[in-house]
């Protein structure tokens, strides 16, 4: 590379180099998304065609997979279960992590570093160890058999990371902003709501996107919690149940999977600009 930079190679003009890189990246992306795109196309093939036609484009496109999945396989129920768990956990985690992050980042909390250290420590415990105690806890609270319980447990996945993100962001805000509020007689709650929170918008978007992804795609936790109660299943668990004892409904499964990923792709497309700002902002401030 250094050689290319230093002596004048007429082939590698900056423009050519950019084009070359673009082509390479495009090829890489194509490989990356191919399975996804294949699955979406496959969801429009009847079961009989799925294995006879390995190409992408269906010979006889049909929506019967979708109808079957939505009506007979209960995907509609699973969809709204997932939506409930996702929206609820996003609301709770965003509010809770913003509040905790504000306190840890900006208030003189005794033992603040010990608290943060403990929180970071929990990141290293694999989910396999915590899932049984979490289930126990929910059962003791009488939430072991309800979507509310699943929603609460789902909040726990990344709330530590989100809290630290908020804390880091709030730490670097100039203290004069709060002092200006104090001079103006604006109380701490209003200061948080009207000044601090709006300024943390990039972090809020990051948290919303990451928590949505996680809650929507979560598998192990809903699997364990809904084991005894199929009506509470979420999409990821429900899709898995297309794998019957003797027969796998691949067509229904691809249709259900497509139903499952479309909302999350839409959300990401809608928020990606803020999302990337947020991640960049968390680093450079």
């Amino acid at each position: 590379m250094a050689d290319v930079m230093t002596h004048k190679d007429p082939f590698f003009t900056p423009r050519r180099r950019r084009q070359l890189v673009s082509v390479l990246l495009a090829a890489l992306s194509a490989i990356w998304v191919y399975p996804l795109v294949w699955m979406i196309f496959a969801s429009f093939k009847p079961n009989s065609e799925l294995f006879s036609n390995p190409g992408m484009i269906p010979d006889a496109p049909t929506v019967e997979n979708y109808v079957r999945a939505w009506r007979e396989a209960n995907i509609s129920t699973y969809f709204f279960n997932t939506l409930f768990v996702t929206v609820g956990s996003v609301v709770i985690t965003s509010i809770a992590s913003a509040l905790m992050g504000y306190v840890l980042g900006r208030r003189p909390v005794p033992g603040r570093f010990a608290i943060m250290g403990l929180m970071v420590f929990t990141l290293f415990i694999p989910q396999g160890y915590t899932i049984i105690p979490v289930f126990e806890l929910l059962t003791k609270l009488g939430l072991g058999q309800s979507l509310w319980g699943l929603m609460l447990a789902t909040c726990g996945h990344s709330i530590v990371v989100f809290t630290l993100l908020f804390a880091g962001y709030f730490t670097q805000m100039p203290k004069e902003l709060e002092e200006a509020c104090r001079m103006d007689g604006v109380g701490p709650v209003k200061t948080f709501v009207y000044v601090m929170l709006p300024l943390a918008k990039p972090i809020i978007v990051t948290v919303v996107v990451m928590q949505s992804l996680q809650a929507w795609n979560d598998f192990l936790l809903p699997l364990v919690i809904t084991l005894a109660n199929p009506a509470m299943r979420t999409l990821s668990v429900g899709i898995y149940s297309f794998k019957g004892e003797n027969f796998v409904d691949w067509g229904g499964m691809t249709a259900a999977s497509t139903i499952a990923i479309v909302p999350i792709i839409l959300l990401f497309l809608f928020l990606q600009r803020y999302f990337i700002d947020g991640l960049a902002g968390a680093v450079k401030g």
């Binding site: 004069e176 002092e179 001079m183 103006d184 007689g185």
Partner: protein, 343 residues
């Protein structure tokens, strides 16, 4: 407008005492400037008046009322921060009206107040902008506007000009002086490390060093009668020439007038010296600064000290010339503890 009184005020952070017993009396409507080198406690003192720092001991009274235990918002003060501390996500209009709105003032009334402040500061056309769309000087005005809107008894400024470039600083300094009279002589307390700002703006200057008040007085008082060596060296530009003397003699043995008997130092302002073949000071010119309206001449004395004097424009020689100067103005005399001995 209100008077502000500080009585034996101290402030400690843990074991470190930052303010060590300060008494200051600021009259109604006065423009009072706290000046001193960086780290001497000016901001701390101002923030104690504002209520942003606790008072370790002593009393702060505003308008005759002790305010030690009052919240910042209840003291009737408004502060303009060095960094302006504008709310970045709000328009100029909302920035100025935010405090009032949050305290339940009717919208129409807030709007009227904001418009009035914007008119005084000539920022009416900026009301819809966000702070990031403003220049440094405009942000400064908005920050002042936010203070005006609160209609405070006392304005507090913490180095409000230090983020502006030199030219804008001079212009804004004038604006501030005008503003003071425009606001019917509101009480203003202004912190700066720049003695020129202090001299030009103040009705009363408080010189601080290391948490103590060194001297309080009108600008010309401090200039003409500095109470000690520190104030003598701090106030005035170029600096006063301070020469250590012994037994009434200069370091090179030249005898001084009788007034200097028993002095530890004498102080001579640059414009108190003039060429004089029989003068007491001699030296070799090292640098000449020609400013057009005056020549400032830096010269080295036989005992190796660099001193300054002022010549009429175009009359100074060049570097390397020998000069001899006599005292034509006031000679300040300080005892061995650095305290001024009255003439």
């Amino acid at each position: 407008m209100s008077s502000v009184t500080l009585k034996s005020v101290t402030k400690s952070y843990g074991q470190t005492e930052v303010i060590r017993g300060v008494d200051i009396e600021i009259e109604k409507g006065e423009f009072c400037v706290f000046v001193g080198p960086s780290g001497c406690g000016k901001s701390t003192l101002l923030r104690m008046i504002a209520g942003l720092e606790d008072i370790t001991s002593g009393d702060v009274a505003i308008g005759g009322r002790r305010v030690n235990e009052l919240d910042p918002a209840q003291r009737g003060t408004a502060m303009v921060f060095q960094s302006y501390a504008l709310y970045p996500h709000m328009t100029v209009e909302r920035n100025m009206g935010f405090g009032l709105l949050m305290n339940g003032e009717p919208k129409a009334k807030v709007k009227a107040k904001v418009d009035e402040a914007a008119r005084i500061l000539q920022i009416e056309q900026l009301l819809d902008r966000k702070p990031r769309q403003l220049s440094g000087g405009q942000r400064q005005r908005v920050a002042i506007g936010r203070a005006i809107v609160r209609d405070p008894a006392v304005f507090l400024f913490d180095e409000p000009l230090s983020n502006l470039d030199a030219e804008l600083r001079v212009a804004t300094r004038l604006e501030l002086a005008k503003l003071h009279s425009q606001l019917d002589g509101a009480t203003m307390i202004y912190v700066t490390h720049d003695q020129v700002e202090a001299m030009t703006l103040a009705d009363k200057i408080v010189v601080l060093r290391g948490g103590y008040v060194e001297q309080v007085g009108a600008p010309l008082d401090l200039y003409n009668n500095p109470a000690n060596l520190f104030v003598a060296g701090f106030i005035g530009s170029p600096r006063m020439n301070l020469i250590a003397v012994k037994d009434g003699k200069l370091p090179d043995g030249t005898a001084l007038p009788a007034a200097a008997a028993g002095a530890g130092h004498i102080g001579l302002r640059p414009d108190a010296l003039a060429p004089d073949a029989g003068g007491i000071l001699s030296g070799v010119i090292t640098v000449v600064e020609r400013l057009g309206d005056a020549d400032f001449v830096y010269f080295r004395t036989p005992w190796g000290q660099e001193l300054t004097t002022r010549f009429a424009p175009g009359t100074a020689g060049g570097a390397g010339d020998a000069i001899r100067l006599g005292v034509t103005g006031k000679m300040h005399v300080f005892d061995s503890n650095g305290q001024a001995i009255p003439a």
